[in-house]
Amino acid sequence: MIKSSSWLTILGILPLLGAVLISALPKKSELNAKRIALVTTLVIAALTVAMATQFQRDNVDMQFVVSRSWIPSLGINFALGVDGIALVLILLSTLLAPIVVLAGWNEATGGRWSVKTFYILLLILETMMIGVFAATDVFLFYVFFEAMLVPVYFLIGGFGTGARSAAAVKFLLYSLFGGLLMLASIIALYVISGEQGGPTFDIGALSQLQMSSTTQNFLFLGFFIAFAIKAPLWPFHTWLPDAADAATPGTSVLLLGVLDKVGTFGMIRYSLALFPEASKTFTPVILVLAVISIIYGAFMAIGQTDFKRLIAYTSVSHFGFITMGIFAMTSQGISGATLYMFNHGFSTGALFLIAGWMAARRGSSKIGDFGGLQRVTPVMAWVFFFAGMSSLALPGLSTFVSEFLVLVGTYTRYPVAAVIGAFGIVLAALYILIPIQRSLHGPTTPGNESLTDLNVREKIAIAPVVAIILVLGFYPSPLLNVINPAAQHTITKAGFSDPLPTISAKVGK
């Protein structure tokens, strides 16, 4: 049996081992590289599920904790650990990875570099993704946060399509800019902690620091802007459509599905926990930004003529929901936001993968180039339809649960924001149904007659996604049971409490 403290380290090292194996292959053995990548990611996914079963749901402390001194002179530890929220996100990352490998079996060919390089970068990225969610040392978190940009940058710039280098550079510069602002805040935390008992980067210790409210506000901004760029929140979102458009479908799935979650995860783990006062101060502004993101993202999505850009803008809208849920500062809001992150990974992932398959078959991702796919490629059309329904949060699908929780959690404290945000759902119906109607239904338009339907590999890749969306739609409690205690704990530690439903007060009168 694996020791409780070794789980996370093993998960983090395995992808690197896979990468080393692949790099040892001879130059031309593309198939073996793919196989190794698939097996590695599958093993990691299985191990993560196994680890999740060992997770003690009612224990709000960090679990699977490991802490080793890394740079003692600066008080930096190699410290990993997960609470319910981090566990769910690690699960999301490791489950998506094999799906991406299988779904994008051929997407690495035709890149600037060899297929081997693609999978090496992908596996390195998986290590970074696990690390960034598992780190409980702010410095270590920052290292993963920044270092993960490098593989993504090369994945977009080396294997994407269209204006890929420009998109990769834009992505990198936006993220670096945010990261450096965060670095300034981290430096300040380090110095302040040094003044109050000894320099440390441990989140638990840092959340005990005494800071004046001005200091807290500035440091909060440093972290928040970095996360808002990453998430992305309006007005920091402009890199996302370009990056998602240029990247390969698999990379986009990881980009939208996992990497962007680092931003919203950071808001919960760092912004709320380290700067509760400042979080309260900035909540009105952030909620306004979140609501704008919801509505703006939705309108922009309606206006898109390209599937990839459309999906990217729907994500801007969805990240608005997630941010709103987080800064509602209620336990439902945070639970909902966390579940939303998980579900969004799968529903947007499905949309992107299928859009990628459609584009690969048709040679274009313009919505106008498709039409009547339902007759030619029924399976693909139906799965796309299903993913679309999941994206607009149809009741019975997992996304509905999370969207509902976010809105309920927000409404109890900020009814106006929740009501305006709810319009996003109406717009979602528009941005999903219109392109679906145009591309899937009606008569088959010229150029689409000879498209082939999903092959076995693609069906195997998409099946688990569909299953997860369905099962969690009817039965979300396995995840919610893990998330809820952590969400409650986050709220309590930050000094908030859920508002009582006002209706009971009225009854009391």
């Binding site: 890394w70 740079i71 920044e146 280098s165 450096l180 300040a188």
Partner: protein, 506 residues
């Protein structure tokens, strides 16, 4: 009657400097007696063994702490040992690059384009006087950060500068550009030396003594004329800031970096910075420590302008060496924030940063020497396109150095930036930290642009090739690459060593 006391010198403590000076003289002698054919290998052997021997001597004096090595003019303490060791290590790597003689003219005295030049090239002559010149410069660099009186400082400054002026003019190609660079460097350097001396004179007038400790005492005493102190600090700083290439005293940097033979640029960029910042640290942390209200404001402004200007102007560069020059200006700004911190953390961080930056710089210029076409090095950025395809390892190493300059985690540059900014923050200079971080973001842009060029742009068939490096150049590139990564992942040994060593004695 005037009595003359013979100076007492501690030859043991001075041995690193003396060894290098001895080696330099031996080199001059070898130049005179050896045949033309045997000179290159002999000079290389002399130079390298001198530097290694000096490094061994530095190691042997590492636990010493003394102000009386040379009648109170030289201090041997922890920082001295660290800085001298850094200079020597960087010099060794630079000499490895210098040994690949392709960058140097065959006969420096021949007029560019003259028949003599052609003849010397045809005879395949090698320029060997560069080795003793390097050793003289190294001797100056070893003395500069340990000197504790103003005259010794000035002498060291000249000893390190004069050979560099000459070395800047030795380029094989584009010799006029190289000579122009040398002349510019010399003229501006002479000016700045004059400023330095002027400042030293005022400080003497202020304190009545030449040693740093007498200035320190005078500041504490507070009875002397503080206008003299202000003028003295200002002009002395001008001289120092010129050497490190801080704005507005940076004008020579791009021209000299571009014009000088690339191995010399590497040496100059890496080792001179260590020496000059070493001296700056000692002067500001010991002599002027208690007058910080007088110098901190203006040095803060200089740091801010230097970081911002260097980063912004680098964006517009189309030549790799000029771009690296402006990047070095920005890094001078980052390093000044360490001086500004005026605390133990600042001292540790600056020394770490100097070493990490120097190593990455030598590696970077080492790679620049390899990218060539039929007429020599190719420094036009556009022609670096597709380098990743031509030579993946070289491009990866170059990208790593650039990422280190940009301060991306898991490289030495990140640890350097982190420690230096946290020291500055601790020293109460929050504004400088914010500007520093923002400049880093701007700087990231042009570093990344080069990476894009190398990896994401297809190579053009214009005759640009990456030549196969000589063994010594290869060692330099691999070693600097390994150190840059190692210091990013396991900086602890070096950080601990620096922390345990770095305390100035007065």
């Amino acid at each position: 009657m005037l009595t003359f006391t013979a100076p007492t010198l501690s030859y043991f403590l001075l041995s690193p400097i003396l060894v290098v000076l001895g080696g330099a003289l031996l080199g001059v002698f070898a130049e005179a007696v050896l045949s033309r054919e045997s000179r290159p290998s002999a000079q290389l052997t002399i130079t390298l063994s001198t530097l290694v021997l000096a490094l061994v001597q530095v190691w042997r004096i590492r636990d010493e702490s003394s102000l009386s090595a040379a009648m109170g003019s030289v201090a041997i303490d922890g920082p001295a040992v660290l800085l001298q060791a850094s200079v020597l290590i960087l010099a060794i790597f630079s000499v490895f690059l210098i040994a690949d003689q392709g960058s140097f003219t065959a006969m420096a005295a021949a007029i560019p384009g003259s028949p003599e030049e052609k003849e010397s090239l045809q005879r395949g002559e090698k320029l060997t006087e560069v080795y003793p010149l390097t050793l003289f410069a190294v001797a100056g660099m070893l003395l500069f950060p340990v000197a504790t009186d103003l005259l010794t400082l000035f002498v060291a400054l000249e000893v390190l500068s004069l050979p560099l002026y000459l070395m800047a003019g030795l380029s094989r190609r584009r010799r006029l550009l190289s000579q122009e660079a040398a002349l510019k460097y010399f003229l501006l350097g002479a000016f700045s030396s004059a400023f330095f001396l002027f400042g030293a004179a005022f400080l003497y007038g202020y304190s009545g003594g030449l040693t740093l400790s007498s200035i320190y005492d005078a500041v504490i005493g507070g009875t002397a004329n503080s206008v003299f102190l202000l003028i003295g600090i200002s002009f002395l700083s001008v001289g120092l800031l010129f050497k490190v290439g801080a704005v507005p005293f940076h004008a020579w940097t791009p021209d000299v970096y571009q014009g000088a033979p690339t191995p010399v640029t590497a040496f100059m960029a890496a080792a001179t910075k260590v020496a000059a910042f070493g001296a700056m640290l000692r002067i500001f942390y010991t002599a002027f420590a208690n007058a910080y209200w007088d110098w901190r404001p203006f040095l803060t402004v200089i740091a801010i302008i230097t970081m911002a200007f260097g980063s912004l102007v680098a964006i517009a560069q189309r030549d790799i060496k000029r771009m690296l020059a402006y990047s070095s200006i920005a890094h001078a700004g980052f390093l000044i924030t360490g001086v500004l911190a005026l605390n133990k953390a600042g001292l540790d961080a600056t020394i770490f940063y100097l070493f990490a930056y120097g190593i990455a710089t030598v590696g970077t210029f080492g790679i620049v020497t390899l990218v060539r076409d039929s007429s020599g090095e190719v420094t036009d950025l556009n022609r670096w396109a597709g380098l990743g395809k031509r030579s993946p390892f070289i491009a990866t190493a170059f990208a790593t150095f650039l990422l280190a300059f940009a301060g991306i985690p898991l490289t030495s540059g990140f640890i350097g930036k982190f420690t230096i900014f946290s020291a500055a923050y601790e020293g109460g200079n929050k504004g400088v930290v914010v500007v520093g971080v923002l400049s880093s973001a701007i700087a990231a842009y042009f570093y990344i642009r080069v990476i894009v060029l190398m990896f994401f742009t297809d190579p053009e068939e214009d005759g640009t090739v990456v030549v196969i490096p000589s063994v010594l150049t290869r060692i330099t590139i691999i070693a600097t690459f390994a150190i840059t990564i190692f210091l990013g992942v396991f900086p602890t040994p070096l950080l601990n060593f620096i922390t345990s060593m770095a305390t100035f004695i007065r």
